[in-house]
C-alpha cells in the first residue's frame, strides 16, 4: 500500500483530502493496535470453527432429506455458516465496552479535546480493527469451509463486489449500534443492562443462531426494515449466497446503506446531547 503518513504535508489543501488522510491514519493505527493480539486471534478462530461445525450440521438437519430450506440449498447453507462465523469477528458483534469504560472513568474528556469528532475517530479505529479481523478471523473459517465442505460459490459477476460493500456497511452499522449502546453510559454509568439486551438481541436477530429465513416471511421483513440487526449478518450472507434475484440483492444493500446513514446520524445526535450534560469529575 501507499507510503503516505499523516505527517506528510497534503498535496492539496482541500478539507476533504485532509479528513480522509486523518481517517486513514487513525484506521491504520487501529489495524496495528489489534494486530498485536495474535494468540487471542488463534483462540478465536478455533472457537469460531467449532461453532461453524455445530451450526452447519444443525442447519443441514433442518434442510432434511430434501436438502432445501427457506430458499437455501446445502451448499448455500455451508457458505452461510462458514462465512458467517468469520464475519462475526469482522463486525465485532460482542464485547466492545471501550467507550462506556472511558465515559465511566472520565477518560472520555481526552477524546473530546481532540480535533476529530469522537464518532469519526472511533469509527476509523473500528474500520482498522475490522480490516485486521478480515485477514486474521474471516480467512481461516472460509478456507475450512472451502476445503472440508461443498460450499456455494457466487455465480453472478456483481456479487463479490456487492458482498464487499455489504460487509463494509455491516461494519459501520454494527459500530453504530455498539456506539449507541455504549453511549448510554453518559446517562446510566453502568451499561450492563443495555449491553445484555444488545448481546441477546444481536445474536438471534442478526441471523447467527438460525437464518432469519426460517421465520415466517412477514416477521423476517419486519426485522429487516424495522431493525438494523439483519443488516449485520443476514443481509451480507444472503447477498453472497445469492438467495434473492439480482435486483433484490441490490435493494438489500440499499437497506443497509439506509441503516448506516441513520445510525451514524443518531450517534452524532446522541453524542451532542451527551456533551451538553457531561460532567467529568477530577482534574
Amino acid at each position: 500500500m501507499g507510503s503516505v503518513t499523516a505527517t506528510v504535508a497534503p498535496p492539496t489543501n482541500s478539507n476533504v483530502t485532509r479528513s480522509i488522510r486523518t481517517f486513514g491514519a487513525i484506521a491504520r493505527s487501529g489495524f496495528r493496535r489489534y494486530a498485536t493480539y495474535r494468540q487471542a486471534a488463534v483462540a478465536g478462530v478455533v472457537t469460531n470453527t467449532v461453532f461453524g461445525f455445530l451450526r452447519y450440521y444443525i442447519f443441514l438437519a433442518a434442510a432434511g432429506a430434501a436438502g432445501r430450506v427457506a430458499g437455501y440449498d446445502r451448499e448455500q447453507l455451508a457458505t452461510f455458516v462458514w462465512v458467517g462465523q468469520g464475519l462475526l469477528a469482522v463486525i465485532a458483534i460482542w464485547g466492545w465496552t471501550e467507550l462506556a469504560d472511558r465515559i465511566r472513568t472520565g477518560e472520555i474528556a481526552a477524546d473530546l479535546l481532540r480535533p476529530v469528532h469522537p464518532v469519526t475517530s472511533y469509527l476509523a479505529t473500528d474500520v482498522g480493527r475490522a480490516g485486521y479481523a478480515a485477514l486474521s478471523r474471516l480467512v481461516p473459517p472460509v478456507l475450512i469451509g472451502l476445503f472440508l465442505f461443498d460450499v456455494y460459490l457466487p455465480h453472478r459477476g456483481a456479487t463479490l463486489p456487492l458482498f464487499v460493500l455489504s460487509v463494509v456497511l455491516a461494519v459501520v452499522i454494527c459500530f453504530g449500534c455498539r456506539y449507541l449502546v455504549n453511549a448510554t453510559a453518559y446517562w446510566l454509568q453502568d451499561v450492563r443492562g443495555p449491553l445484555i439486551l444488545w448481546t441477546l438481541c444481536s445474536g438471534v436477530l442478526a441471523g447467527l443462531y438460525f437464518p432469519l429465513g426460517f421465520l415466517p416471511g412477514w416477521l423476517e421483513a419486519l426485522l429487516r426494515y424495522g431493525t438494523p440487526f439483519p443488516s449485520l449478518l443476514q443481509i451480507p450472507l444472503d447477498v453472497l449466497v445469492e438467495r434473492q434475484p439480482a435486483p433484490v440483492q441490490l435493494g438489500l444493500v440499499g437497506v443497509q446503506a439506509g441503516w448506516a446513514v441513520v445510525l451514524l446520524a443518531l450517534c452524532r445526535l446522541v453524542q451532542r446531547r451527551a456533551e451538553l450534560r457531561l460532567v467529568v469529575q477530577g482534574g
Binding site: 487471542a40 472457537t47 438437519a61 433442518a62 434442510a63 443492562g193 445484555i196
Partner: protein, 293 residues
C-alpha cells in the same frame, strides 16, 4: 463431618498459620471462611438491586433463545436427525439444566485466565484455603440462578409431555442424569480452565468446548456427521450427557447402533470426567509459575 463440640467453637476465622496443628480444629474454621466468602458475595451482589434484576433477566434470556432456536428449527422441519420436537426437547431439557447448574456452581472458573494474567491467582494461592473452592466462591454468580430455574422448567415440561412410559428405573434415571450432566459440565469447565496455566492468552478458547458442548448436547447426535461427531460425542463424551439418557428415558433404540444399556450407564461417564478434571487441576497448579506482575 466435624465433631459436634468443635462446630460451636469461638473461632470461625482461619488460623493465620495456615496448616493448623490439629485437624479437628480446622474444619469449622475452613467451613466458616467459605461461608463468609459466600455471604460477602451474596451481600455485594444484592446491594445493587436494579443491576441484579437486569442480570437475572439477561441470563435467563440466553437460555430462552436456545430453546426458541430449537422451536424455530422445528418450524421448518418435522424432525431433526430422526427425532421429533417432543423427543428433542427432552434432550434440550437435560442439557440446559445440566449446563446452567454447572455454569452457576463452577462456570466462573473461566475467569482463571484473567486471574493468572493479572497475578490475582498468587493471592489466592497464599491463602490457607484450597484454591479451587476459593475461586468458585470468590464470585459465585447468583444471577445465574434464573437460568437454572428455567432449565429445570424445560426439563420437567419436556419429560412430562414426551409420553414416557415410567418405570422405577426411568424415575431414577431422570433424577440422576441431570445431576451427572452437572458434574460432567463442571469437569469440562475446570479442565478447560487449566489450559490458561500453560497458555496465558488463551482467551475464548475454552468456550469452544464449554459453550460448544452445551450446543452440541442440545441436539440428537445423529444430526452431526463425520469425525466431528466422533470427536465431540465419544472422544469428549458429550453424547452421554443428554443423548443416551434421553434414548433410555424415551425407550428408543440408538439409530447409530449402540446397545440400549449405554443410556443407563451414561451417568457414570461423569465420574470419569471428574477424575480427569481433578488430575488436570492438580497438574496445572503444580505447573503454575506466576506471571510475575
Amino acid at each position: 463431618m466435624a465433631e459436634p463440640g468443635t462446630l460451636t467453637g469461638p473461632t470461625r476465622v482461619v488460623p493465620p498459620s495456615g496448616g493448623g496443628p490439629e485437624p479437628a480444629g480446622r474444619t469449622p474454621g475452613v467451613l466458616g471462611a467459605y461461608r463468609a466468602l459466600l455471604g460477602a458475595q451474596a451481600r455485594s451482589q444484592a446491594a445493587y438491586r436494579a443491576s441484579f434484576l437486569v442480570d437475572l433477566f439477561g441470563n435467563v434470556g440466553a437460555t430462552v433463545f436456545d430453546v426458541v432456536t430449537v422451536l424455530v428449527l422445528f418450524g421448518v422441519t418435522r424432525e431433526l436427525g430422526g427425532f421429533t420436537l417432543h423427543e428433542t426437547l427432552v434432550i434440550v431439557g437435560l442439557s440446559s439444566f445440566a449446563f446452567a447448574a454447572a455454569d452457576l456452581l463452577v462456570g466462573n472458573i473461566e475467569r482463571l485466565p484473567r486471574y493468572v494474567r493479572t497475578g490475582l491467582f498468587d493471592a489466592v494461592l497464599v491463602r490457607p484455603l484450597a484454591a479451587l473452592p476459593q475461586l468458585l466462591l470468590m464470585d459465585l454468580p447468583l444471577r445465574k440462578v434464573s437460568r437454572v430455574v428455567f432449565g429445570l422448567g424445560v426439563l420437567v415440561a419436556s419429560v412430562g409431555s414426551a409420553g414416557i412410559h415410567w418405570t422405577a428405573g426411568r424415575v431414577a434415571l431422570v433424577v440422576v442424569a441431570p445431576l451427572a450432566g452437572l458434574v460432567f459440565f463442571g469437569s469440562v469447565f475446570v479442565t478447560t480452565a487449566t489450559v490458561s496455566f500453560y497458555w496465558i492468552d488463551s482467551g475464548e478458547l475454552a468456550n469452544s468446548v464449554t459453550y460448544g458442548g452445551r450446543d452440541f448436547t442440545s441436539y440428537p447426535v445423529t444430526v452431526y456427521g463425520g469425525w466431528f461427531r466422533a470427536l465431540f460425542a465419544y472422544g469428549l463424551g458429550f453424547a452421554f450427557v443428554s443423548y443416551h439418557p434421553a434414548l433410555a428415558l424415551l425407550g428408543r433404540a440408538d439409530p447409530l447402533g449402540l446397545p440400549g444399556w449405554v443410556g443407563w450407564v451414561a451417568p457414570g461417564v461423569a465420574l470419569v470426567a471428574a477424575a480427569i478434571a481433578a488430575l488436570a487441576w492438580r497438574v496445572g497448579i503444580r505447573h503454575y509459575r506466576s506471571t510475575g506482575s
